[in-house]
């Protein structure tokens, strides 16, 4: 017997879709109806130090983007919009 639920496997998605999927599917799980807009503060939805580090690891490993440590600021990680903008600046 294995767990009958697992995170959806990766397929071709935009950065934004992939990020939303990870953030609200796994990192800060919210049902579809409760997912906030892309400009909502993730800090209000439970983003903390552990989850932020997991998010950075996800972006670096799964999305294959290197994010310099000194760029990790509240402004860049606060919303889906700001994270997407940050990722795009390194594409």
């Amino acid at each position: 017997m294995r767990p009958i639920w697992a995170a959806p496997s990766d397929f071709i998605m935009s950065d934004r879709e992939q990020l939303r999927d990870y953030v609200f599917g796994e990192l800060l799980p919210l049902s579809n109806a409760n997912r906030p807009a892309d400009d909502a503060s993730l800090f209000d939805h439970g983003l903390d130090s552990l989850r932020l580090m997991q998010l950075l690891v996800f972006v670096e490993e799964k999305m294959r983007i290197t994010l310099p440590d000194h760029e990790v600021t509240p402004e860049r990680v606060e919303t889906i919009d700001s994270i997407v903008g940050w990722i795009e600046s390194h594409r």
Partner: protein
């Protein structure tokens, strides 16, 4: 080293076995029991009145100002009913007001009850049921769901019933009346995870805080030139070092803003800019700093001491810290909330070289440690044998709030016959040099990011969620964070709800009931949980998944 003759206690009821054991004691610190923690502030203001007491967000107050503000707030609190035996809610983000309120409450003789502002209101309610506070102090007013309190003091306010700290400074005269707290007065109550599902309130005496502060100042040579970071939240006993040892030394308290904890590079910049000399945190906070803070980019040459506690320090991380901060001495402090710090170990060059786990060291001043056999049939524990660590000393709690049964279970007659000793639940051994080594927990308690977490409390919370059939919570080892929390759940089969929706609503449910550090990081839905032959949840199978996959195939 002294040798004591004593007896272990069977089930906390009767002495059953005479045995001898060595206890380390270094009688150099004598804490005057009549002294209050407020006396520390009076002395600091006398000796270092013009020096900075707290520095936060570009604001600094001197010891003279801190004393004055605390006395004015104490006058308002006393009028509102704060007195020895009363509880006052203390719900602050890091701020100067928090320190003012902490000392003001101490001055009134009341007990402060730290409530992390991020906790769900359900937890505030559970704590209020145990520690019935009627006065609220905090960064903001209490949530309305908490019900009425007779007085509210807050930094910011949106209604007229709340008094702001700023207004009190203008209208109040400093409190002058004498208040004599009882000999073993309770300075604060720290609520920690309880295995039955209800948080338990650990009563911390003023005597404990004074002893710890004095020990800290003497052991680490703190002076008024020092600048102590305060990283840990106020509901966490680590913060009592940053506050009371700092005041005892007349040093400057440098609270770390909550959000900065998430941004290691910014945090390292902040540490450098503020010239912090002394840091005390859980190892995982140091892991973030070392891994993501690029310490080489910052001038951290003023850092003199890195102290850590709360969970096991991994050796690779210890080496990284030592390499990044060559001017700093490193020390491992050990102790559950019930004892505050009770043993400690100064990191040596040899510790950095060998691969063995870092020792938890030797007892602090005036503190005794014993290792008692876990099974009552066994004889006493010899060098290098394992036993449960037992602690007696001035920092040990007198017991849990309103829970005599638990108190009697955990505080047993000390083996030397002198008072009580706390059963830590930690399995330890003592080596040839008398140094203690932590080996693991006797029960299921999990340490994650320095917080102690009873899986039973999370399970009890989740079990009340509709549609849940079974829940089991286990730890998953994590390189940076020590442990992550995994919840394995199964649902009622007949409820026709999508698994994903069930999972997300369950997580929402958990967030409304548990502090964020107790909300599981990982979730797994099982058809049914694996059980042992005796019908108990098979935790091993949950962490590996293997035994049941095999069974399913057959």
């Amino acid at each position: 080293m002294r040798f004591h003759i004593g007896a272990t206690v069977d089930g906390g009821l009767s002495f059953f076995d005479l045995w001898t054991h060595n206890c380390l004691t270094m009688a150099s610190v004598e804490t005057d029991q009549r002294e209050s923690i407020f006396a520390l502030l009076i002395r600091a203001a006398d000796a270092h009145g013009a020096r900075p007491a707290v520095e936060f967000a570009d604001q600094t107050i001197t010891y003279h100002d801190l004393l004055d503000r605390s006395l004015r707030l104490a006058a308002a609190l006393t009028e509102a009913g704060a007195a020895p035996g009363a509880f006052v809610a203390f719900s602050f983000k890091k701020s100067i007001d928090a320190i003012v309120a902490m000392f003001a409450i101490a001055r009134t003789g009341a007990t402060y009850v730290p409530l992390d502002p991020t906790w769900p209101v359900a937890r505030f309610q559970a704590i209020r049921a145990a520690a019935p506070f009627d006065i609220w102090t905090g960064t903001v007013a209490p949530p309305t769901e908490l019900g009425k309190t007779s007085a509210i003091f807050a930094t910011t306010t949106t209604n007229e019933t709340t008094r702001t700290f700023a207004s009190i400074q203008e209208i109040r005269e400093p409190l002058t009346i004498d208040i004599v707290p009882p000999a073993d007065d309770i300075a604060n109550v720290l609520f920690t995870s309880g295995s039955t599902g209800i948080p338990k309130g650990v009563q911390i005496t003023s005597r404990s805080l004074l002893h710890f502060a004095k020990w800290g100042v003497e052991t680490f040579g703190l002076t008024s030139e020092d600048r102590l970071a305060n990283h840990a939240p106020y509901n966490f006993d680590l913060s009592t070092f940053d506050i009371f040892a700092a005041v005892a030394a007349g040093a400057c308290m440098c609270p770390i803003a909550e959000q900065l904890r998430m941004f290691p590079y910014r945090l390292a910049q902040d540490i450098a800019a503020r010239g912090i000399t002394t840091w005390y945190s859980v190892p995982s906070a140091l892991a973030l700093l070392v891994q993501r803070g690029k310490l080489a980019d910052h001038d951290l040459s003023k850092m003199r001491r890195i102290l850590f506690a709360g969970e096991v320090m991994p050796k690779p991380l210890l080496r990284d810290i030592a390499a990044a901060l060559p001017n700093a001495e490193l020390a491992n402090l050990y102790g559950p909330t019930e004892t505050n710090v009770c043993t400690w170990h100064r990191v040596t060059a040899r510790d950095l070289e060998d691969d063995g786990p870092l020792p938890i060291g030797i007892p602090i001043d005036n503190t005794l440690a014993w290792l008692i056999p876990e099974s009552s049939n066994a004889s006493d524990v010899d060098t290098n044998e394992t036993g449960e660590l037992l602690i007696a000393g001035p920092t040990v709690t007198p017991g849990y709030l309103n829970d005599a049964a638990l108190t009697n279970d955990k505080l047993i007659a000390a083996p030397d016959g002198d008072g009580f000793a706390y059963r830590t639940g930690d399995r330890c051994r003592r080596d040839e040099d008398g140094v203690l080594h932590f080996l693991g927990r006797i029960d299921r308690m999990i340490k994650a990011r320095g917080h102690r977490i009873e899986p039973g409390e999370i399970e009890a919370a989740l079990e009340t969620c509709n549609g849940i059939k079974e829940v089991a919570v286990i730890a998953v080892a994590d390189e940076t964070f020590g442990n992550r929390i995994k919840a394995c759940v199964s649902f009622d089969t007949n409820a026709a709800i999508d698994q994903n929706d069930r999972q997300t609503s369950l997580i929402q449910f958990a967030r409304q009931r548990l502090p964020s550090y107790m909300v599981p990081d990982l979730w797994e839905i099982w058809e049914y949980l694996p059980r042992t032959e005796r019908g108990k949840v098979d935790y091993r199978a949950l962490s590996t998944g293997a035994p049941l996959s095999k069974r399913q195939q057959t």
